[in-house]
């Protein structure tokens, strides 16, 4: 390649140099031609002068005078003496003598000179007749004497070409080549004669030598380049090109993974040590690359496993399920296929967890997952969708086969010896099945999950056999909860935040009924239709969307605070789930709220139940929030376990008594318990909130107790725009 480039470069350079040389030669030739033209003109002038000089000499010849004095023998003299006496040079071909009147002394038949001349017509001229070019000149005959006596005229005809050829000073004209262009021209002026002459230029030795030198140089350079190149080609080919090709082939084979590291093609030692080094480096590099690849593959597999497996149960996780479902959707959309989806849910797992603690709950989940995986067939995988919910997908499986597998799964769980782990109650799972057959409808595939959910919910219903296959009838019964419309709206609202509307219900100080702060209550409104909060939270809880939902709500509240929607000097109480309180993203958003701490009272409401599950991490985060100025409220106190022990350890500032406790004030027997409970908790420094105050009677009773705040329709319903002054409304609904 390099050789070819050098060759091409050389050819280009050679042609360029040759071209330049030709241009230079042409220029010199033109200059040479001009000089030659000048030279010819000088030669003609010189010849003219020379002929004139001879004409003068002839005119002064005494025999000419003799002929004038005695022209009697002029014809004889003309024929025998005029040109033969050595007075005129050989190129003079004719002469004539004229008397004072200009008449020739005697007419000579053979003479080509004029028979008469006049004083005013003595200009020299040139006759061209075929190959003969003759110059005719005239002179006066004036005898040399002090008086210069005029005696007559002479004319002289001279052959011009020999005179031109004999011109001694030709440097540019090849004198032997001087010729006449025109065949017949008469009485041509001497000054015009050069135009009728053709001639060749003399060889220009400088230019010719220079061109020769350049040609010779180019030829030698060509030899210098081509010959060594040809000689060296096999050697270079053996030393470099061949090994490089071998290395290249080796690299190709490595790329195609068809060659081993020690490929036979490169097993031989290479002739150049550097290339041998390259070969070794290549092999070593490939070896290292191979090992890195292997390590990366291992890591990838490990990462994939970590990313796609639930570390607790060993089942595939929600991510793996989603990917698998997407691949199924893409793979089978438009094709004919049978797909069956089974969703497993542990019955009463929350209670189990609450009762035995989540550690044992985890062990239960682990045992359930392993039991199910044992009975699944080859190619069937178990996915943990979240919490106690599992799923598996049957492809090209009949409903009966799927149902049979589901029964085996259920039986496997039944047979699992959870008693050995201390669980006294029987652990059961509910299985919902949904299927689509030969319906290559994308929407149907998407609906399978919802249908399996519905079936699973149906299977949990009392009296069912814990296994249910989806049917249209189930839809009507649980439409409110599992409506795909509601599902979609909730999902969309969480994702975009567009349909989420925050309603604010005032919480007032009971002593003066001044709004201390507002509880932010989420509503989802889509196309003018309001989704019931109970439906929203069921879906959120069922889909484990707590954190995502809380984030969406927090963003809205944050915006309302920033826009001044909420009166300064009041505050906002925000419900945060137990799961969200230990979620980093939620905490970070909450930290952003600290910019409003000086103007607003910010309260985080958490439920007792949610705190219990992760008490340690939750307490830690709540303490951080308190340090930043947040108040922590324990919501729905009295609706669950209401453990006073836990209350003592929790970082809580405000305790909101559940509406059921407040309503129980109407009952005298219950009133006392609530009274003492309130006194006790208030006594520990907590401020108490009475929820659900809807009547003055109830308010009166609340006022008799240690409650500091009140909330309920009596003070104000939840409104999109916070009420600045609490009203005393009659209402029948609580928040």
């Amino acid at each position: 390649m390099f050789g070819m480039a050098v060759f091409v470069l050389f050819v280009f350079y050679g042609l360029l140099t040759y071209h330049q040389m030709q241009v230079l030669k042409q220029d010199l030739q033109t200059s040479y031609q001009n000089l030659a033209n000048d030279e010819i003109r000088v030669a003609i002038d010189t010849a003219h002068l020379d002929i004139k000089k001879h004409a003068v000499e002839f005119a002064s010849w005494e025999e000419v005078t003799q002929q004038i004095d005695n022209p009697y023998y002029y014809a004889y003299w003309y024929n025998h003496r005029s040109l033969n006496a050595g007075v005129v040079p050989d190129y003079v071909v004719d002469v004539a003598i004229y008397d004072k009147s200009g008449n020739v002394l005697s007419k000579i038949a053979s003479s080509t000179l004029p028979d008469a001349v006049t004083e005013d017509a003595l200009t020299s001229y040139i006759d061209i007749n075929k190959d003969k070019v003759e110059m005719v000149v005239f002179e006066k005959i004036e005898k040399e004497s002090p008086s210069g006596i005029f005696q007559g005229y002479i004319s002289m005809r001279s052959n011009l070409i020999p005179e031109l050829i004999e011109f001694k000073q030709y440097n540019y004209v090849d004198h032997d080549s001087i010729k006449i262009k025109s065949t017949e021209v008469s009485k041509l002026l001497v000054s015009d004669f050069s135009r009728y002459i053709s001639y060749d230029l003399r060889p220009n030795p400088i230019v010719d030598d220079m061109v020769g030198i350049v040609k010779d140089m180019l030829f030698r350079m060509a030899l210098i380049i081509i010959v060594p190149t040809l000689l060296m080609y096999p050697f270079v080919s053996y030393l470099v090109a061949k090994p490089l090709k071998a290395i290249s082939r080796h690299i190709d084979s490595l790329k195609n993974k068809t060659a081993s590291i020690e490929a036979n093609s490169l097993a031989k030692k290479l002739p150049v040590s550097e290339l041998e080094k390259v070969r070794n480096s290549l092999n070593e590099y490939h070896q290292q690359l191979f090992e890195v690849h292997k390590s990366l593959d291992d890591k990838n597999r490990e990462l994939w496993n970590m990313a796609h497996h639930d570390p607790l149960t060993g089942a595939l996780n929600r991510r793996a399920f989603d990917e698998h479902w997407r691949s199924i959707t893409q793979m089978f959309s438009g094709g004919r296929m049978d797909i069956c989806l089974a969703i497993f849910d542990v019955n009463n797992f929350k209670a189990l967890n609450d009762t035995y603690g989540h550690q044992l709950g985890d062990e239960v989940l682990k045992g359930i997952a392993q039991s199910i995986m044992k009975v699944l067939r080859k190619g069937e995988h178990l996915y943990r969708l979240g919490g106690d919910e599992f799923a598996t997908v049957f492809i090209n499986c009949t409903e009966q086969e799927a149902l049979h597998v589901a029964e085996r799964c259920h039986q496997a769980v039944v047979d699992c010896p959870f008693n050995d782990q201390g669980v006294l109650e029987p652990v059961r799972i509910s299985i919902g099945l949904s299927e689509t057959r030969n319906v290559p409808d994308h929407e149907m595939l998407l609906a399978l999950q919802w249908q399996a959910d519905v079936a699973m919910y149906s299977a949990k219903q009392p009296g069912k056999a814990n296994i249910a296959v989806f049917s249209e009838e189930m839809t009507d019964k649980i439409k409110g909860i599992f409506s795909s419309w509601v599902n979609n709206i909730v999902y969309e609202a969480i994702a975009s935040g567009d349909d989420i509307v925050i309603f604010y219900q005032p919480i007032v100080r009971l002593e003066d009924r001044v709004v201390e702060y507002y509880e932010a209550l989420v509503r989802i409104e889509h196309d003018g239709k309001m989704v019931l909060p109970s439906d929203v939270f069921q879906i959120v809880e069922a889909r484990s969307l707590d954190a995502e939902m809380d984030i969406a709500i927090l963003e809205k509240i944050y915006h309302d605070l920033g826009s001044g929607k909420i009166p300064t000097g009041t505050g906002v109480s925000i419900n945060v789930s137990g799961l969200s309180i230990v979620t980093k993203d939620v905490l970070e958003i909450l930290y952003k709220f600290t910019r409003f701490i000086d103007d607003y009272k910010l309260v985080i409401e958490v439920t007792e139940t949610s705190l219990i599950t992760q008490i340690e991490a939750a307490s830690k985060n709540l303490n951080k929030l308190r340090e930043k100025g947040f108040y922590i409220a324990l919501d729905d106190f009295g609706s669950g376990y209401s453990s006073v022990r836990y209350l003592g350890t929790m970082p809580v500032d405000i305790v909101k008594f559940d509406i059921s406790l407040i309503r129980s004030l109407a009952d005298e027997s219950q009133q006392l318990i609530v009274k003492h409970l309130a006194e006790m908790i208030a006594g520990t420094g907590h401020k108490l909130v009475a929820e659900g105050i809807e009547t003055e009677d109830l308010l009166k009773k609340v006022n008799e107790l240690e409650f500091f705040y009140g909330q309920g329709y009596l003070f104000g319903r939840p409104e999109p725009r916070p009420l600045e002054q609490p009203g005393l409304l009659d209402g029948t609904h609580s928040s």
Partner: protein, 289 residues
């Protein structure tokens, strides 16, 4: 021992060279005279002192006064103070300056030449008031002999004839009796046209039979006859190595009683060192001033 003659010649040569270098050039002029109202004839004239003898020097056949032998004698005599006239015979050419080629048309004759000589002799005589010493070279000597013979009243004092030759038949001459007979025949026929002859050193000589005969008739006998008239003192000078003049002619001259001076080793033109010997001889002949 060195040859005393040779030593003398060398000495004379050196003296002449020195004198030529240091002596101021003699005033000379070209004299032009109209001859026969047809042409102008010219001569070189050097005026000598009032008492100086007048000498006319005549060139050879078809030559001019510029001929080296003639010109050297002219210069030497001029420098010696003689009044010297060196004409160029026109030979029919107006103001002739160059020797006339053999092949040219020759319109001149012995008669026209003698008439020109007479013109110049009389002009010199008139110019100097002295009788003229005639000094000729080669054919010029012949023409002077003829002049003295033909012009009895010519104011001449002496004749010095160098390399005196002759026309007509003889060794060293191109003329031959056949040509002459042809010329005589032509003359008898009244032919006046040009004919080709041989004359003197010219093998081709184009002239009329009359002109040719005028020269041819001045052969040995006619010259000896003229010389023997002894009208004026005569001296004849020869070069001993003259190839143009046969020895018999020299002997005839000597035998006629004329004063003959022979310069040993010189040729017809007295070239080289012999010109000094010639000059010495002339000096010895000429009267003193």
């Amino acid at each position: 021992m060195s040859n005393p003659n040779i030593s003398r010649r060398y000495l004379a040569s050196i003296c002449l060279i020195i004198s030529a270098l240091i002596v101021a050039p003699v005033a000379a002029k070209t004299v032009e005279l109209s001859f026969d109202n047809k042409r102008v004839v010219t001569a070189e004239f050097s005026q000598g002192g009032a008492e100086a003898p007048a000498i006319i020097i005549l060139h050879g056949f078809l030559q001019t006064r510029e001929f080296h032998t003639v010109m050297r004698i002219y210069n030497a005599l001029s420098e010696s103070g003689y009044s010297v006239l060196a004409p160029t015979l026109s030979l029919g050419l107006n103001r002739r300056q160059k020797s006339l080629a053999c092949e040219a048309i020759h319109f001149h004759s012995m008669e026209t030449d003698l008439a020109e000589i007479d013109l110049w002799v009389r002009w010199l005589n008139k110019e100097t008031g002295k009788k003229v010493i005639l000094l000729g070279h080669s054919a010029g000597s012949v023409q002077l002999v003829a002049y003295v013979d033909q012009f009895e009243d010519a104011p001449v004092a002496q004749g010095i004839y160098i390399s005196l030759g002759h026309f007509g038949r003889g060794i060293g001459s191109a003329e031959n009796p056949v040509d002459y007979q042809r010329a005589v025949a032509s003359i008898k026929k009244g032919n006046t046209g040009l004919e080709k002859y041989a004359m003197s050193y010219c093998k081709e000589y184009l002239t009329t039979p009359q002109n040719y005969a005028s020269y041819y008739e001045w052969g040995k006998e006619k010259i000896l006859s003229a010389l023997n008239k002894n009208r004026i003192p005569l001296h004849v000078i020869y070069g001993s190595k003259d190839q143009r003049i046969d020895k018999s002619w020299m002997k005839k001259i000597e035998a006629s009683g004329l004063k003959v001076i022979s310069i040993e080793g010189a040729n017809h033109f007295f070239v080289s060192e012999y010109e000094f010997d010639l000059q010495d001889a002339i000096d010895n002949i000429l009267p003193g001033m």
